[in-house]
Point group: C2
Chain length 333, copies 2
């Protein structure tokens, strides 16, 4: 059966396009608080679980050994916009472990943000691996490897201890068997593992509730989540959806985007985790849907706060002359 329509794109009086998908909102015990669509089909979480992948940076002691503060930890969980400050901070992290950008194996790409890209071009520059949106996560991987005395080369491979540690954390948090059938290669060359939305949502709920996992792991996860909520720009970039969502409720909402229409996150005070995927992979849809899910979850706890997320669950479409021509809006009800 097809997933429900969760986002509509209107033009004039007509629904021009629409997006189907599913989501799960779960508590630490794994109890389903809200959901739509198929939440059991394994889907790739992509960058939405960078917090899970960052936990070994804390647990091995590498973050403390290199004196990483919240800004560095937020960048280690980031899909950043490749702004100058992001690239510089990634370089500073690597320098702490005696490395530079040449050891990154994430590849180069022009920053996703078109204006950042054009500014780089205007200065006659080209992007390096430090501008890759995943360079902070990779800096975290590399620093952990150096701290553990491991070979850095090939750290993106599934067999490398860096990826094995990340995989073990994801398996622990999701409770899902990450066998080779559900393994793909991510844009930044590391393995990505597909699991049900329900399992990813439960993983985030475990981290913020402490339910069913070791206290040390919950503390590590919470430290990363708190760092991201305190430094949303480091975790995303100027004007990005993750930044706007976390600025709307400082310290109360953690939300992280992933490629192909994924969003994961947590409401720490409520001990809840969530995960969503748009069937067709559209980011414009995931960005309004996540706001609608958060608004619905907060409604009975804090109606004012919920209203702020209602506003983020719809974006106005304008043409090149700035005339309003339609909207992208979540249709949860």
């Amino acid at each position: 059966m097809a997933n429900p329509v969760l986002v509509e794109v209107t033009r004039g009086g007509i629904v021009e396009s629409f997006h189907r998908g599913g989501f799960a909102l779960v508590d630490g015990a794994g109890e389903m608080i809200d959901h739509r669509g198929d939440i059991l089909r394994p889907v790739f979480p992509r960058s939405a679980i960078k917090v899970f992948q960052g936990i070994p940076l804390i647990e091995t002691g590498a973050a403390d050994a290199y004196g990483f503060g919240d800004r560095e930890l937020a960048l280690a969980c980031a899909s950043h916009s490749g702004e100058d400050g992001h690239a510089r901070l990634a370089a500073e992290m690597l320098a702490k472990a005696g490395l530079d950008g040449t050891v990154l194996e994430c590849g180069c790409h022009w920053p996703f943000d078109a204006s950042v890209s054009r500014e780089l071009a205007r200065r006659g520059e080209r992007p390096t691996a430090l501008h890759n949106n995943c360079s902070g996560k990779h800096a975290g991987f590399l620093c952990t490897a150096v701290h553990q005395g491991e070979e850095t080369r090939g750290y993106v491979g599934l067999g490398h201890p860096v990826q094995q540690r990340a995989k073990a954390v994801i398996e622990d948090l999701t409770g899902f068997d990450l066998n080779s059938d559900v393994c793909g290669t991510d844009g930044c060359s590391i393995p990505t593992f597909a699991a049900p939305l329900k399992s990813f949502a439960h993983g985030f709920a475990k981290l913020v509730s402490g339910h069913g996992i070791a206290a040390e792991r919950a503390a590590a996860g919470r430290r990363l989540i708190d760092a991201c909520m305190a430094h949303p720009w480091e975790m995303s970039g100027t004007g990005r959806a993750c930044e706007a969502l976390m600025q709307a409720a400082p310290g109360q909402v953690f939300a992280k985007t992933g490629a192909e229409g994924v969003f994961c996150g947590a409401l720490p005070e409520l001990g809840l985790g969530f995960a969503l995927k748009i069937d067709d992979g559209a980011t414009r849809a995931s960005e309004v849907l996540v706001a609608a899910i958060i608004a619905a979850a907060l409604r009975s706890h804090d109606a004012d706060l919920a209203t702020r997320f209602d506003a983020l669950s719809k974006t106005t479409l304008r043409n090149w002359e700035k005339t309003e021509v339609g909207a992208v809006r979540a249709t949860l009800d």
Copy 2:
């Protein structure tokens, strides 16, 4: 009932995302040759019917009065990439009618093609309305207005004779009542009218078969279609899908993209027209689906040619290190 899945996006061994939609392949008599999904729901054709909108440029005699050749006619039907040559040709068209780029009411935007955009930025320039992907169509509108002795200002408004002529052509070709319920505003500020996919497909079939329309109109449409097939770069841009599709079968395939996952076109030798829409508006999906529809239509007539379009019905996905990680592929069968 949900439309069928027509395009899959894979990663590793998993279908990561998928796209639903519908299409119609119709002959000049309106006979359905092939179709999937809902082809009766009104959808906005957006830029995919620029040929329809260009017909008054021919029928009024403006194109001949200004000495427009096939390159200018192709640009009048284009969603171009904003390359230097496109902007220059649009300016040349306007100059023929004593105008310049300042009269364009389509708005400015950075060229959709990121590398074209960055090259403009690298030179310290900013886009003008001449770089707008629709500037050729608007140049055609403006030249027609001048030729007819009409006020150019406000030519994008529904009440202006330019838009009334375009609307009358679309109504004639689709046979659909274009009332205010189905009217929206396009990205370039002109009205866009929603109609069923079947009707748009039939309109293109009428143009290439001559069925059911005035001979003069069929000739005008065929002249524009031939111009586009002869000059695919002018109608699209370097490396774009429309260019690749028309270069794969010179003179045998006309295909034109539209925003929000639309494609329309014709197989002139077979007297067929087609129209497709991806429900979620994804261009990556419309681009492989159109190739699959063309391949299927050509199979029994020219198997070798069909094979060329089979190849275009799948694109390989690579990560930033150029490793193959998946594919976008049409799943017509």
